[in-house]
């Protein structure tokens, strides 16, 4: 175990964090009719050794944490990434001023994993 690494508390573990995306912040408010924004979330946190089942780890991540624990300088910890996303529906004007309602996949982070 590396001596200078800070202790990992449950709040530091890899998990979804709340993020509200407002379409006006990205300058899309004049063509997106609804919603005005949505809770998109994001993944943040550590994937420490040993990886527990709650961290939705891949086999690759488990091996990477093992190698990281042996050689922290040479191999980084696995990343915390979305493992389950859900769609949202967006109502907007297209390039020809038609009104469109479209279902978009992978817009909201529901679960994160290592």
């Amino acid at each position: 175990r590396s001596a200078d690494s800070p202790p990992v508390t449950p709040s530091n573990l890899c998990k979804p964090r709340r993020l509200y995306i407002s379409f006006s912040d990205v300058g899309w408010e004049n063509w997106i009719i609804a919603p005005q924004g949505y809770m998109a979330n994001y993944c943040l946190g550590e994937c420490p050794f040993p990886l527990t089942a709650e961290l939705n780890s891949t086999n690759h991540a488990i091996l990477q944490t093992m190698v990281h624990s042996l050689d922290p300088q040479g191999t980084p910890q696995p990343c915390c990434v979305p493992v389950r996303l859900s769609p949202i529906s967006i109502l907007y004007y297209d390039n020809n001023d038609n009104v469109v309602l479209r279902h978009y996949e992978d817009m909201v982070v529901d679960e994160c994993g290592c």
């Binding site: 300058g27 063509w31 109502l91 297209d94 390039n95 020809n96 038609n98 009104v99």
Partner: protein, 231 residues
């Protein structure tokens, strides 16, 4: 940032960031479907649900409402019973290559406040033709250049009429094959009303004719890959 934006817009099926010039009001049916999805998000449902429009019971994940770009046809010698003749045109060339059209519904909308007492009880005849050959302006269109799609009588004007045009609209994706439709509304001159000035006032109630739009449901095969059922 603009490169990121253009990549994202492309993945959303848009060539550039839209900048609506004359934004039309949102059709109530789209608003209703949007609200339904908002209250019951498909988080726990499978891809099959996300790729189906329950409201119309058809496969699809994109619903577009196209505004009519056609114009009124003005004949030099108006036919006695013909109140209205209008070309209907919907530009379906925006559909992407991987999209499969599963439904097209024409809506002919009449306003609520134009119910004329003179028109009460009168029967109107609606005919919708598919144009198969263009005729020059001022030249009479030949009967052979158009195919009758719909013939319907209606008495009241303060409502919408809906017609299924799924079969016809599939051809309209090819720009050269899209010659639009001809809409004709006439009055039934059974009691000799056409001989009097009464006909004009009857036709005036057709002024309530507001607009037409085409609702199109498509299935993006990129997002909704067809799954083969196990035999």
């Amino acid at each position: 940032l603009s490169l990121q934006e253009s990549l994202l817009l492309k993945s959303l099926g848009l060539s550039t960031k839209p900048s609506p010039k004359t934004p039309v009001p949102v059709p109530s049916v789209l608003w209703r479907i949007f609200q339904n999805r908002k209250t019951s998000p498909s988080t726990n449902k499978g891809l099959e649900d996300a790729c189906r429009v329950e409201e119309f019971n058809v496969p699809g994940n994109i619903i577009r409402v196209f505004a009519d770009q056609g114009h009124f046809v003005h004949n030099r010698q108006p036919q006695a019973l013909l109140c209205l003749q209008k070309r209907l045109y919907f530009n379906l060339s925006v559909l992407e290559e991987g999209e499969h059209l599963t439904m097209a519904q024409l809506e002919i909308k009449f306003s609520h406040n134009s119910y004329h007492a003179s028109g009460q009880g009168r029967v109107f005849e609606l005919r919708l033709y598919q144009t198969s050959q263009m005729s020059l302006r001022g030249m009479p269109s030949r009967e052979s250049s158009r195919t009758l799609l719909v013939e319907q009588s209606f008495a009241q004007l303060h409502k919408s009429l809906l017609f299924n045009l799924s079969g016809v609209a599939k051809d309209w994706r090819t720009y050269s094959k899209n010659l639009g439709l001809i809409l004709e509304i006439s009055v039934d001159g059974g009691d000799g009303a056409s001989a009097t000035g009464g006909l004009q006032s009857l036709c005036a109630s057709i002024d309530s004719f507001l607009d037409t739009s085409l609702l199109v449901v498509t299935l993006s095969q990129q997002q909704c890959r067809a799954s083969r059922r196990r035999r």
